[in-house]
């Protein structure tokens, strides 16, 4: 009996640090957000990537330039055939041994180590042939025609040779790295997955898209980002959501009418198009940017991919990463401060703990005290919760209470 009573006391004390919450917050109360926005607007130049000598330099280029670069690679191979009869080309290595974490810019970048692919050796002839085939497909079908292809379409360009799409996908990344450009600049696009809504007007070719007027849905982020351009916006911040369920809440409440913002989601880890789109609107409009993910190690990993890029596409980091994005929530301490009960918390399993330890070992977490502290608290509690746990207070709690109070109090990482 005594034991039961002790447990009840413990449960109450765990939830006793409730935050003082306001329910009357308006956009004009978000002083810290507006101050951040003003500071960014005052910067004369946009937030530009600083070049360094020990990494592979990548440029976003127009089709004409990409064509020229492929022609140069091919000319070099022909020259080698004529001179030595043993042609090869060098591709930047994309494994962890060649990945550099740039603490100053908070980006994951690709070093200068290269692997030589010989066309006449048994060990590399298959890889080299696949790269050459992808180069031919990109040259003839994307760049020459200024059209776009999906990765799947590239695979079917020579399915017998590629055998599996993972090999053509890898060859596409090799070609991009070989000609020192982004995959988007080669005209090969990934399937569109993300969506966006809010106070933003875009140009897609000669059409104007109003992201406020998308009915009960959202605008599907186009994979053809070279056609997309920001036309107008009165947003004051960007909100990146991990979950489609959170996006639905934002849409249903038309939250941007009360808090002028642009909301977007990739429904999980940010795909290339979503990350590029985010980078584009963040840099063009200089808006403070916040991320809302599940309170679990995977949510934090998703946030890390947005701000630093993934290791696989590290050579494109400057074009994909949004390093100045803040983690708004759901932070581990939010679970107590916003009264998330034990019923809404899930014990972490072995996989969660492994990912959590992996995150804690990353240099970019070690260098960020607030982030490290939050993950260490998560490790101590061994509990996780989804964004939807906030709905235990009512479905409008996230839009009416949680988000306004987080933005008002400046409680982010």
């Amino acid at each position: 009996m005594a034991k039961k009573s002790k447990s009840k006391t413990k449960k109450r004390s765990k939830h006793s640090v409730l935050k003082k919450l306001r329910n009357d917050i308006t956009i004009n109360d978000l002083e810290q957000v507006r101050e951040m926005f003003e500071k960014r607007l005052a910067q004369k130049k946009g937030i530009e990537y600083i070049k360094r000598d020990d990494i592979i330099e990548i440029n976003d280029v127009k089709p004409k330039e990409a064509l020229k670069r492929i022609e140069n690679v091919v000319k070099d191979i022909v020259r080698q055939i004529l001179v030595a009869g043993d042609p090869s080309f060098k591709i930047p290595i994309r494994t962890s041994s060649n990945i550099i974490y740039d603490a100053e810019q908070d980006l994951i970048l690709l070093g200068q180590k290269e692997a030589e692919k010989k066309l006449l050796t048994l060990t590399s002839v298959q890889d080299a042939t696949r790269v050459m085939k992808v180069m031919e497909i990109i040259y003839k079908q994307c760049l020459k025609t200024k059209k776009h292809m999906t990765k799947r379409e590239v695979f079917y360009g020579a399915a017998k040779l590629f055998q599996d799409q993972k090999y053509s996908d890898s060859a596409i990344e090799d070609v991009s790295a070989l000609i020192r450009t982004t995959r988007n600049s080669t005209g090969v696009v990934a399937k569109a997955r993300g969506s966006a809504v809010g106070r933003l007007k875009l140009r897609d070719g000669n059409e104007i898209i109003d992201l406020e007027k998308q009915g009960s849905g959202a605008w599907s982020i186009s994979p053809f980002l070279d056609r997309i351009e920001v036309l107008e916006s009165d947003a004051e911040f960007i909100l990146v959501l991990e979950k489609d369920a959170a996006m639905m809440r934002i849409i249903e409440e038309k939250w941007w009418t009360k808090f002028p913002c642009i909301a977007l989601t990739a429904e999980g880890v940010g795909n290339v198009a979503t990350r590029m789109f985010l980078k584009k609107i963040n840099a063009t409009l200089k808006l403070p940017t916040f991320c809302l993910v599940d309170c679990d190690p995977y949510g934090h990993y998703i946030y890390s991919v947005y701000i630093r890029g993934s290791k696989r596409l590290s050579y494109e980091s400057p074009f994909l990463a949004t390093p100045d994005m803040h983690l708004l929530g759901v932070l581990t301490r939010d679970l107590d401060e916003f009264g998330i009960g034990d019923d809404q918390r899930i014990p972490m399993d072995k996989r969660d703990l492994k990912r959590l330890n992996d995150m804690l070992n990353e240099d970019f977490v070690k260098n960020n005290k607030k982030w490290k502290d939050d993950l260490q608290l998560m490790k101590k509690n061994k509990q996780k919760a989804e964004i939807q746990a906030l709905s235990s207070h009512g479905i409008e709690y996230i839009t009416d209470t949680y988000l306004p109070n987080k933005l008002y109090s400046g409680d982010w990482i």
Partner: protein, 125 residues
Amino acid sequence: MKVFRTDKGRIYQITDKERMKEWDAEMPFIFIEYAKDRLIPSYPKSIKKQVDDYFKEVLNDIAIPAIERDLSSEDEEEREKAAESLQTYYPQYSKEMKKIIPKIKKFANDKNKKIAKIIKKIIEK
């Protein structure tokens, strides 16, 4: 981006003229018409005039010169493309685009019959 600030501290950003220079010739007209019909009426009073003036600049500095430039290009294909674009977009955006008529009249007698025919048709509308 061109920034407009309201008296209540709100910020409106509109794409700048430098960026518009890279657009197809008809796009500035499409955007001007969109701004006049939909954006400016919804803006706070304190910035309406500034934004309206900005779009007048866009019309004179970007939109009209872009059409003239494309119609005067040395590339015959580009000239025909510009004329065809005019033909497509003029009926839809005539309110703004009619301002280019004095500048394109000379092309009604163009040696390229296709271009001359399209321009004549637009002028007669």
